[in-house]
């Protein structure tokens, strides 16, 4: 009896192990930020074309590592690689969607959008220099808000993330002290504060701690109905974190002047631009050994650019402006197969 079971089990295991995947599969790995929208696009695309696009959110660092090791067909990173790094590894990158980072607070009696914060003030709070909510610098930009004499509890990310990269890059841009003392990276040595794991952890900590301040991706702020702050953009206006304002930041940016699309959408010009915006990027090798694979990847993203906008917006992402998409398609001509010809036109 036992022998029969064992034999059957072994046979089944052998059979299953030899089964190839049922359809053509392309693989990608990297950033967690766009994982939901890539998953949504992949699901719709599979129904339409039969192609399986398996994307795994292992983090931007992991995505970069994997594409450099050529263990995936494309990598994804919230942090764009600098042009010299791209060239050194024979990679090219292009953006797919845009998102925003939103400062959120927990102050009783303050409605969403009732409080204003500037980049300089935010940097001072996160440096631990301004420790009470009724600090003069905060009061002066919030003349009509009753701020309590409560200690500010700073919440930041404990894990490395593109959200932190965008946030710290913005602080470094607006506050020279921050740039010197802490710098910008997906993981930094935070001067003060508690760390939450993931956007979820930060959101939970902020919600559970009166007097807390944190930063989260727009989707989390919206889904958790958090109290967000208005921020001052380059044009001087106080803007709210909304999809239109993220799109305004993306539209106002000078993509043509950015080699390798290396552009952080921070503090972009435009009256409605949200100052802490960023795109997420796809990394691919310029010289592809398997032209068909590369063709399939680009065909997927072309389809997503044409048809994926509604799905992206439904999930609280911001699609790229059309002119940018045209630029991206032109850049795809750089991806060539073994015969030197572009894999996708």
């Amino acid at each position: 009896m036992l022998k029969t079971i064992l034999a059957a089990g072994a046979g089944l295991a052998a059979a299953l192990a030899c089964t190839a995947a049922l359809a053509a599969t392309i693989s990608g790995a990297g950033a967690t930020f766009p994982a939901p929208v890539y998953a949504k696009w992949a699901e719709t695309y599979k129904a339409r074309s039969g192609l399986l696009l398996n994307y795994q959110a292992i983090g931007s660092g992991g995505g970069i590592k994997q594409i450099e090791a050529k263990t995936v067909d494309f990598g994804a990173s919230d942090k764009p690689l600098k042009p010299d790094v791209l060239a050194a590894n024979g990679l090219m990158q292009f953006p797919t969607v845009v998102g925003g980072v939103v400062p959120v607070v927990n102050l009783p009696g303050i409605a969403p959008g009732a409080i204003r914060l500037s980049g300089a003030v935010l940097a001072d709070i996160y440096r631990g220099v301004r420790t009470f909510w009724d600090d003069p610098a905060i009061k002066v930009i919030n003349p009509r808000v009753k701020l309590p004499h409560a200690r500010i509890t700073v919440v930041h990310r404990s894990d490395g993330s593109g959200t932190s990269f965008l946030f710290t890059s913005y602080l470094a841009l607006k506050a020279p002290h921050w740039a010197k003392e802490v710098g910008a990276n997906d993981a930094v040595s935070w001067p003060v504060g508690v760390g939450g794991k993931g956007n979820d952890g930060v959101a939970a900590m902020v919600k559970q701690t009166p007097g807390a301040i944190g930063y989260v991706e727009y989707a989390y702020a919206k889904q958790n109905r958090m109290i967000y702050a208005l921020m001052q953009n380059r044009a001087g206006g106080w803007v709210a974190p909304t999809a239109e304002n993220f799109a305004a930041a993306a539209a106002g940016a000078k993509w043509q002047a950015a080699p390798g699309f290396y552009l952080l959408l921070l503090d972009q010009p435009g009256g409605k631009s949200w100052p802490i915006t960023g795109a997420t990027f796809i990394l691919m090798h310029q010289k592809q050994a398997n032209a068909q694979n590369a063709h399939d990847v680009l065909a997927f993203f072309d389809w997503a650019y044409k048809n994926g906008n509604p799905a992206a917006q439904q999930l609280d992402y911001v699609p790229l402006p059309e002119p940018v998409k045209a630029l991206i398609r032109k850049s795809w001509l750089k991806i060539v197969g073994p015969n030197g010809q572009p894999v996708y036109r």
Binding site: I58, S158, D159, G160, V188, V194, G201, A204, T209
Partner: protein, 322 residues
């Protein structure tokens, strides 16, 4: 074998070894290979950790263990914060879990009515079957607010300034931190220690307990002075296994420990453990030095676990005091 003297049948060939003995060395060899394969895989783990962490170890030297700066921007990595956090949370978890596990084990063996025994025993072991990520999620969303409201805030406001209690309760009272993580860890390792202690106590020969009762000892005295010393060796082994589990626990801790790489200043302050640091940062780490530092952290964790287990072995080797 008896042979009739006048039989004409051929003499049976004398076998000097049992039939099938030729296979014996093969079998023994296969078993030996399996045992050695386990050994080799452990060696492989250590070697890969050393190879991977080498750049960080050579760059920072011994200072890696004593510096508490962990700065991915300036590329300075010091492991003191995670190391201290690991040791403190595991020790605290053990201190919290041990009396509870012991009490549960004694309850199940001595006090519990027979019809409840199986249910309560299974219930305690059920704690072990809950995935550790559930502990993390429960810890952050359910336990932390409760802990902050009912324990941290009262203690912090009740502590007289300048007292030991005040310095112990430093930190942010939002329910996360070293003590909160230790409590969650304690709940996690509780079932392992309790189940093992219970099995040990059940295996104590009845004569040992009966003789103590016969001398007029109370139940408590029999438990603490007779059965517990009797199972001391196995109990220490159980404790060590629980400690090993606590040292390596990742998911449950990382949600609620606050994740700050500085040395924790108080029980309510944020800290970090080695396992949570690796889990948090490994997939995102791009620079080779950052990755190497994380792997070096893993090597340190392995060294700590190894030391704890070696100590346990050493303690068990000492002759039992009769």
């Amino acid at each position: 074998m008896t042979i009739a003297l006048n039989s004409t049948a051929p003499l049976p060939r004398r076998r000097s070894a049992p039939r099938g003995a030729g296979f014996e060395p093969v079998f023994e060899g296969v078993c030996f290979a399996a045992a050695t394969a386990l050994l080799a895989s452990l060696g492989g783990v250590v070697v890969s950790l050393m190879v991977g962490g080498w750049p960080a170890l050579t760059r920072f030297g011994f200072g890696f263990l004593t510096t508490s700066t962990w700065d991915p921007v300036k590329e300075v990595y010091g492991a003191a914060g995670p190391i201290v956090g690991t040791l403190i949370t595991s020790a605290l978890a053990l201190i919290l879990a041990l009396p509870v596990a012991g009490g549960v084990a004694f309850f199940l063996v001595e006090l519990c009515p027979a019809f409840l025994r199986r249910t309560i025993g299974t219930a305690v072991e059920l704690l072990a079957g809950i995935p550790s990520i559930v502990y993390g999620m429960w810890g952050l969303f359910v336990f932390a607010p409760f802990f902050s409201q009912h324990v941290e805030l009262p203690l912090m406001s009740a502590a007289p300034p300048g007292s030991l209690l005040e310095s112990l309760t430093q930190g942010v009272p939002n329910g996360s931190g070293i003590l909160a993580a230790s409590i969650i860890l304690a709940i996690m390792i509780l079932p392992f220690i309790a189940a093992t202690l219970r099995e040990l106590l059940t295996a104590v020969p009845p004569q040992v307990r009966e003789s103590a009762y016969g001398l007029g000892a109370t139940m408590g005295e029999v438990a603490m002075k007779v059965t517990l010393p009797y199972v001391r060796r196995g109990a220490i082994g159980a404790v060590m296994l629980g400690l090993g589990r606590a040292l390596g626990e990742t998911m449950a801790v990382t949600f609620i420990i606050g994740n700050s790489h500085d040395l924790p200043k108080g029980l309510f302050a944020s800290g970090s453990t080695i396992a949570s640091t690796i889990a948090n940062e490994f997939t995102e780490a791009t620079s080779p030095l950052h990755t190497a530092s994380l792997i070096a952290l893993g090597l340190v964790l392995f060294a700590i676990t190894f030391t704890v287990l070696a100590l346990a072995r050493l303690m068990l080797r000492q002759p039992a005091r009769l």
